[in-house]
């Protein structure tokens, strides 16, 4: 055996080990990961007829748009548990929107991301976390306004305005119901015009409104951390 061959074998062994055990094997066993059931006998509020995760199928169209606009560059979708960081206590980052909730939002778990091709856990936090943003916004217009003109609500915000997801058009008849309420603001369009969301903007808002991960998880989940058989 030449030096070169020995070297290649040693390298393959050194790197093959993490490749196999950290990447390939978990990726395969993730495919067998199934939902866990709630169990009233163990103290869960829901009964065993319900499964965790509860979430509706992931919105793939919206996720594509979220990816295309690079939202992940500044917005994470991951709540760290209270013993590590204050994520769960920050106002509006969980389900409870009260000023001082009794419980912090729970940390996100592997099953919270079921159905997503790959999750946008985040790169930096230039803006707030969006793991539970669906609870924060109660109506679509607020989200649209935020996407169209982030500085209108928070003058200090460094979020870009996604004006290209909206179109200005001539008002016809009584005007579109979905038109953004820009009257009286600096952004008011020309007289006789209105700004309406495009189909893409609606899909993105659907996606954002669907991000709700802070529901109670079954207490049995800790036990079922290993891949559960369906």
């Amino acid at each position: 055996m030449t030096d070169f061959r020995i070297f290649v074998f040693k390298l393959a062994a050194a790197f093959g080990l993490p490749w196999l055990f950290l990447i390939v094997w978990p990726a395969i066993s993730y495919q067998g990961l199934g939902p866990v059931s709630y169990d009233k006998d163990k103290g869960d509020e829901l009964d065993a007829a319900y499964w965790y995760p509860l979430a509706a199928p992931a919105n793939t169209q919206g996720a594509k748009l979220y990816a295309a606009e690079g939202c992940v560059q500044c917005h994470s979708q991951m709540i760290r548990p209270p013993q590590v960081a204050l994520d769960g206590w920050r106002k509006g980052w969980g389900q409870n929107q009260d000023a001082r909730p009794a419980e912090p939002a729970r940390g996100t778990t592997l099953r919270d991301y079921f159905g997503e091709k790959h999750s946008f856990l985040g790169i930096t936090r230039g803006g707030p976390d969006l793991a539970n943003v669906g609870y924060r916004f109660t109506n679509r217009t607020d989200v649209h306004m935020h996407l169209y003109a982030p500085q209108a609500r928070n003058p200090w915000s460094n979020a870009p305005a996604y004006k290209h997801l909206y179109s200005a058009r001539k008002i016809q008849g009584p005007g579109a119901g979905a038109a953004l309420p820009l009257k009286g603001t600096k952004l008011e369009p020309k007289r006789g015009f209105e700004v309406v969301p495009t189909a893409q903007a609606e899909v993105l808002v659907d996606y954002l409104m669907s991000l709700k991960r802070d529901y109670a998880k079954p207490l049995t989940q800790a036990v079922a951390a290993a891949p559960a058989k369906k």
Partner: protein
């Protein structure tokens, strides 16, 4: 070997070197020049992206929103500049180390190089046009990864082939080990990440794998090429052998063993199984040993030759790059350890780490290599000391500013996020704490843009054969043409 070298032997050696250089001229100069263009593009995008982060309404246009510009900037830096220049250096290093002449395939390599640039152009434009996939460092559209892989493999095949059949009997040295490792590991990581992320539904695990990919490319491609080049040029120019072969070996194997485990720690305390983030955190910290060993070895090799750092452009850039290697290691340990990581997680510190490894360390080493290689291939000497000096100081200063502001700004950002007093506050404090640092980043990119403009012009002139006609290399401490300096002249 050193005692009995007769004039005839020396002449034969020199002729052999010239022959190798001639055989590599086309592909290597092609890669360097195109890489330098991408570096310019990336620097420009980095500059605008930093400005947009502070003032989002500047240049308002859907193509230039921060969410598209930032990935385009990094992709151009990684694949346009980094991989391309890295392959050029790797090809030359291995050919010289093994005394192999590139017998054929120059035309094929250049054609593949053109294709590579076409792919990167398609990728960057599609990100800007709104086709980003938002998988870090894999943002290009799905269709082009196989083409990129094929092109990389064609180059890697030549490089590894030369390393497998050395003409010279010196055997397998440390530079060869690093370069071959880079050529073998990159396709491995690239195939794994692309295959899994394109074909399987992975949820949060997908984010972990993409982070593993980024760490893998940094630690198993950029680091090996940078360190391998430093291990070649530092002894070459100082005229001293590598201080300790054992340390060099140990440093390499510790890197190879630990690098593959890193990555998942970026999502510490997140949805990934605890053991994955823990093992990543452990590996990130353990790599300090490898980094320390390599740093020590380089330091001991350079010891006593610091005067040459002043005069030789190659050694100056390589020395600075090698100096940044420990910095990148410490930064990796800081963002990896649970102790400090919770504060630095999701902050600018991550950008700082990417830039210090890809630019501060890798690129500076590659600049050093380019300053050595290009005159030998182009057959003329660098035109102006002032341009080199300008390139060095603006790059060194700019990179240092980016790294320091990213880390300090990241700490501010993170502690503001984790401050119990801020629980009810809006995001205002986090944003405003970061703004000054991002503004400084924009200034730093502007400085680097200035330095790269001159580097590019200088390089293009050299490749066009318009350099100085002289037998004396361009050195930084004396004017041209006075006399042949001892060390670099003798080794050339």
């Amino acid at each position: 070997m050193q005692t009995e070298a007769t004039t005839a032997d020396l002449n034969a050696e020199n002729l052999r070197r010239a022959e190798i250089d001639r055989s590599l001229k086309g592909p290597v100069l092609f890669l360097f020049t195109n890489a330098a263009f991408w570096l310019m593009a990336s620097t420009l995008m980095g500059f605008i992206a930093a400005l947009k982060l502070v003032s989002p309404s500047f240049l308002e246009c859907s193509w230039l929103t921060y969410g598209r510009l930032q990935p385009a900037h990094l992709m151009a830096l990684v694949y346009g500049w980094g991989l391309q220049a890295g392959l050029g250096v790797a090809l030359w290093l291995i050919a010289r180390r093994t005394a192999n002449v590139l017998k054929n395939g120059q035309g094929t390599l250049i054609t593949l190089g053109i294709l590579w640039n076409v792919m990167i152009t398609i990728g960057v434009i599609s990100i800007l046009a709104g086709g980003s996939r938002s998988i870090e460092w894999l943002e290009f559209p799905q269709g082009i990864w196989l083409a990129m892989l094929g092109i990389f493999l064609a180059f890697a095949f030549k490089i590894v082939g030369m390393a497998a059949k050395p003409v010279r009997a010196e055997g397998f040295t440390i530079t060869n080990m690093y370069v071959v490792a880079a050529c073998l590991c990159f396709p491995w990581i690239f195939i794994t990440a692309n295959y899994l992320l394109n074909n399987l539904e992975l949820g949060a695990l997908g984010a972990g794998i993409s982070s593993w990919y980024v760490h893998g490319v940094i630690l198993l491609f950029f680091v090996p090429i940078g360190v391998g080049s430093a291990y070649y040029f530092i002894p070459k120019i100082t005229g001293q052998p590598i201080h300790s072969a054992q340390l060099a070996n140990l440093g390499f194997w510790l890197l190879a063993i630990f690098a593959g485990w890193t990555g998942m720690q970026r999502y510490m305390a997140g949805p990934l199984p605890g053991w994955m983030t823990s093992v990543g955190s452990m590996a990130g910290v353990m790599l300090l040993i490898s980094v320390g060993i390599v740093g020590l070895n380089h330091h001991l090799t350079t010891l006593g030759s610091h005067k040459l750092v002043e005069s030789s452009p190659t050694l100056r850039f390589t020395f600075f790059g090698a100096l940044f290697y420990p910095v990148s290691g410490v930064l990796l340990a800081l963002i990896s350890a649970f102790w400090t990581g919770a504060n630095l997680q999701f902050t600018h510190a991550w950008y700082g780490y990417q830039i210090v490894s890809v630019y501060g360390f890798f690129s500076m080493c590659v600049f050093g290599a380019i300053y050595y290689i290009v005159p030998r291939l182009a057959g003329c000497e660098w035109l102006s000391v002032r341009l080199i000096r300008n390139h060095f100081w603006f790059s060194a200063y700019g990179i240092s500013v980016i790294v320091v502001t990213s880390v300090v700004g990241g700490l501010q950002q993170g502690s503001s996020l984790n401050d119990p007093n801020n629980w009810n506050a809006t995001f205002w404090s986090v944003v405003s704490n970061g703004n000054a640092y991002v503004a400084a980043r924009a200034v730093a990119w502007a400085l680097i843009l200035w330095s790269n403009t001159w580097f590019l012009i200088h390089l293009v002139l050299m490749v066009a054969g318009l350099g100085r006609r002289s037998s004396a290399p361009t050195l930084m401490t004396r004017e041209h043409d006075d006399h042949l300096p001892v060390s670099e002249g003798a080794k050339a």
